[in-house]
Symmetry: D3
Subunit: 164 residues, 6 copies
């Protein structure tokens, strides 16, 4: 097995996907920002007329998805057709879930992962003055579907096998 | 205590730093991509004349640091004066350390964290065909110095206190 | 009726357009920069061998159209297939008309509006030393066609009705 | 009097500001999106748990301010030190006020104007399915201070004179 | 014969390509950085465990190809489906070859040329402290195919004719 | 002698310039687009009311200078304080000269070279339908001054010595 993003000599390249089909594809990625109870309460801003903190992170995630080809050197520019970034506040953490759809020649795992890190970085930025020790953990693909390889789901029996 | 990035009504803003001093500042952030032993061997490309895989991740991290104000909505655009992205391969993981320096009005934690996620996303991208289950973990600031607040070190006795 | 760009809880999202057809679509937007007679004469540069002022605004408008998904948070990145930015100088104003075409899944009103504001901002920039009081007015869609909703024309009898 | 952004032959240039002082500077710009009463109610989302619509416009404005040198061809890249975008909903309109600060060699009128248009375009985008006839009006500088020319205020007696 | 990128009055425009077919297209461009023997040896880094210099130039070229519509004012944003940047070191020069593929409505000559200049600029940057006199020469299209005009090859008998 | 942009192990880095002085610096770079007599006449558009072709190239060059840190991986983001792009049409060529000024911690050779390639790519784009064989040649620094190393002039006796 070899990395697809480098050629037989080891040189980086953007893989040619001209022959791949234009298919509907979806990817879901997640991550979690671990911080303090106090910070989660500040982020929720429950008693303020405006509550832009979590909105800022959602928008940062959506916009980051669109910047994926600018950030990830060997990624193809693709036509994203939809993005959702869901934030769920826990006791001392914010769980991030990004869902990206396309109808194009490559999957959108990287766009979903980039959306998660975009939202995570925006949260880091907003909380850093109060909690400089916050951590973004577990940035990973949960599920992807579409294209020739079909559906992949983390922790599905066959997926676990493949990754052990 | 309140979030500095939203005003008293909860509206997002880019905090005014006109009055902060122009100081030399440094931040170090880290993270780790957990994957498989096989993938780490492929990334190291030890037997290939070119070995662009890890170089691609280093450069992605350096370039991501420069894109921080484009990605993080409330971050100030600042004059980065130096960036290093170090990758250390372990048995089934790649540890990422980013060091960013500036001489400007704000700290560079966000630039260092963005460099780590940039390198992490590039690694995710290169390994995803072989290991779709890879995870970027532990994206966090390790140390920062400069500016009015002086030195902060993760897990220093006083820092631990402050974060409990 | 509800805003399509926020979900039922009010969270921002990039609407999924996977199911929309790939159609030829056109949008025309306009705006006007109101300034002074003197400034309009300077912008026209009639007696200079080069007359880059209006060209600068045209190009700013065309390039801004391409940056629409970077600027408008919930806009889809789409494949623009043509842009024109026409500037017409009046006595103390410059009228801007942008026409954008695509063959993609969404309309191009936002691209046309962004082209108008791009040209308008470039004009503001060039005249601000002479006329700091210039105003960009009336940035609006005049006409769009293509896609499922067909043709919409400002001030057409049915459009007026719909907007009252 | 001549345009500073073109040379004596009419060729566009980015004016050399090396000799200008590094001063604290502020600019305030405003604009208004005219739409319908129904749309303003939707934008305010008063009865929804999340209300991201206005937050999206505020963040779009703040991020647009940072993209000014990418959009306005002859603008200098400068170190913005603070941005606020305030939205005030009226009966059938949303009034936008952007305040930008810097400590650099040029004024920040263009950054403030770009913030207003960024917020205005985001509002246009969110309302366009309900009100395709919305209009962004009156994008203009209200006040600027700092640098050699001191304070300029729209409609101040001396400013009116200067612009007639 | 006339320039396609300006209209009959001379105004710049992005040509409408809505009617052009979605075809597989390829372009190859080349260039050469002329420097010193010493510099070429440093770039090859033969005796270092990491050899990021040439990798940096390859990645700069690949990423530049994706930025083509941001850089070239009248270029269409298109869906690049593959990029290779090959560097060949000579005695006192580095030869750059970029190959870009797409399945879209326009050719990819500009993307290939932009990739060559991106790699060339990165090489200039890395060698400038040792050789400030380095030169990027001969940036040109070698071959393109696809679309209505079919194959064009530099120095093919018919091509030479056409260009004399 | 070693490349400054890679460390002792060969890893790419953005060199730390925190200790360099904030000085006025200037760089001049040149290049030439070789095409046909017919194309040069079309570019000059002497008989058209608007003549945006050369303006487009000038503006492309100025805007490219501002994108230098996005394009050149290891370049520092710096505060450009002025840019000129001069185009001189010859019999079958267009000569490009870019002059960039800053008051910052690094020189602006890369910004001047990037401006030349930006203008050159825009010319390539505009002429490619008429002359697919056009060539951008001789992209090089002519002169730089400011900073610790003082003045460097191409072909000055001492410079020639230094580069042999």
């Amino acid at each position: 097995q070899a990395l697809t993003h480098v050629d037989e000599a080891g040189a980086a390249r953007m893989v040619d996907v001209s022959d791949k089909g234009v298919d509907a594809r979806t990817a879901v990625a997640t991550g979690v920002v671990r911080t303090t109870t106090e910070v989660v309460e500040l982020l929720r801003s429950d008693d303020l007329p405006k509550g832009d903190a979590l909105a800022t992170a959602r928008i940062a995630g959506i916009m980051a998805a669109k910047r994926t080809p600018d950030l990830v050197p060997l990624c193809h520019p693709i036509a994203i057709s939809g993005v959702r970034v869901d934030l769920e506040t826990g006791d001392a953490e914010v769980r991030i879930t990004a869902t990206v759809r396309t109808t194009d020649r490559t999957g959108v795992e990287m766009e979903a992962l980039t959306a998660v890190t975009g939202a995570g970085l925006a949260l880091h930025d907003m909380v850093k003055a109060v909690d400089p020790a916050a951590v973004l953990d577990g940035v990973r693909v949960e599920r992807k579907e579409g294209g020739k390889t079909g559906i992949w789901v983390r922790n599905a029996p066959e997926a676990q096998e493949e990754n052990q």
